[in-house]
Symmetry: C2
Subunit: 266 residues, 2 copies
């Protein structure tokens, strides 16, 4: 499919990227509605093949939608963009440890000019379809970041990379859970259908109220916790595998593309 | 989804791989019905990242379903298999030129022990679904290989790799074309919906009766030529990009996996 964004959507995406470039830093759920958002992981060239292989072997969590090669900084999904500045918050990783959060990653690219950047589909992409179907997105309603959890699901290793799957959670009214499965299942390139529904314990999640990333959820009576594979999964791989250097987005602070969500509907 | 093959299916797949290992060489459309078949491209390690990037950028034609790393010969999709022997016919490429066709690629792996092998989804996978829907598969009926064509659609380059998209063609009765689109659209990991329907000339195909790969088709009155992206596309990239060495399957002679087609249904 080749779906074109509307002028209003493109203006919203460009304004958001410009604001983040100027230093604004907010979670992006609900921003530039209808356009695809992306997770970032950038690694030195020496780790690029293994990273791409890791995403191929764990496509549900790590669906790659663009690769920005060594020496380049513009994504094909957002003409005029600069991956070093156009995300609201970056994480700089050294030897698998979070060393810094920053709104500007130009120093990181200057330190490692051979970084290869991978953009990975984000579940914020399918939230528009959920909202249109009358399914409430609690973290949007509350103005919070989506809650994300590390799980006991091991990803398939690739070379030096290993780690567990990270999931995002949305509480869904029980009568709408099947709709949520079908709507999100149509977009396999942005995590697709949920990986788990209704039993946090079997994912190894002890306490829903203390997510590993993002903000605490509010699960109301009659709602079921529904878990989708999450593009923060590469950050768990960084922690477990300890590459010497890496740059990621901060969870919930995504890269906004110019590509309509509909492009990824099967 | 995790779908298990039946014992009968697994026996058929293992028997087919054993026969090819022993030297049998036949097109595989219709073999081990219900199990996924795969295209092969293997390149020296120095070309592996660019090849994986090329497949990521051209997923419709090159959906990777497994990567066999340097030093390994067994696919995770077929325990006990040996990628050097278990395909009925291989092509050995030198500097972008077809140097040899052989039923045994062990000499190629001995010459280049650093080969990395990519298995790419094949449209034979969705033929079972078409047959079950009462849509005739002409090349199966005639005991021929599927016709494949080079097109004027350029793939997105990756590093040193470039080339045009190759398509497979099936003549479909006009009243069943929409069904064929919907059935194949459910399996985006094995080429998904057609890339083109009904007008060979707009793909740059001058004469349907002389395919670039496979056997001539037989298009009957009331049938429309329907074109799907084809996993022979990497072979067009080899011809255009001239890597020093590569191994592929011969078009139509696929690698048979133990994975049910249903695993790839969205």
């Amino acid at each position: 499919m080749t779906v074109l964004a509307t002028p209003a959507q493109l203006a919203a995406a460009r304004a958001a990227r410009a604001a983040y470039r100027a230093g604004e830093s907010v979670p992006t759920s609900g921003v530039a509605t209808g356009l695809t958002q992306a997770n970032l992981i950038a690694v030195p060239a020496d780790w690029a093949f293994e990273t791409l292989l890791y995403t191929q072997r764990n496509q549900k969590a790590c669906p790659v939608i663009d690769v920005i090669e060594q020496g380049a900084v513009e994504s094909a999904l957002a003409p005029g963009s600069d991956i070093r500045t156009d995300i609201g918050s970056y994480r700089i990783w050294r030897d698998g440890v979070l060393a810094e959060e920053t709104t500007d990653a130009r120093a990181a690219w200057a330190e490692h000019p051979d970084l290869v950047a991978f953009l990975i589909g984000c579940s914020f992409t399918f939230e528009t379809g959920l909202v249109e179907a009358g399914i409430p997105i609690r973290h949007q309603e509350l103005g919070r970041n989506v809650p994300m959890y590390r799980t006991n699901i091991d990803c398939t290793p690739a070379g030096r990379l290993r780690g567990e799957m990270v999931v995002s959670m949305r509480p869904i009214p029980a009568r709408q859970v099947a709709d949520a499965v079908q709507i999100t299942g149509r977009t396999p390139a942005v995590h697709g259908a949920p990986v788990h529904i209704g039993d946090p314990a079997s994912l190894g999640i002890v306490d829903l109220s203390t997510p590993d990333f993002g903000d605490a959820p509010e699960v109301r009576d009659g709602e079921v916790p529904v878990f989708w594979a999450c593009g923060v999964t590469p950050q768990a791989a960084i922690m477990a595998s300890r590459p010497p250097f890496a740059v990621t987005h901060s969870p919930g602070y995504m890269f906004i593309t110019d590509v309509p969500d509909a492009e990824y509907i099967v």
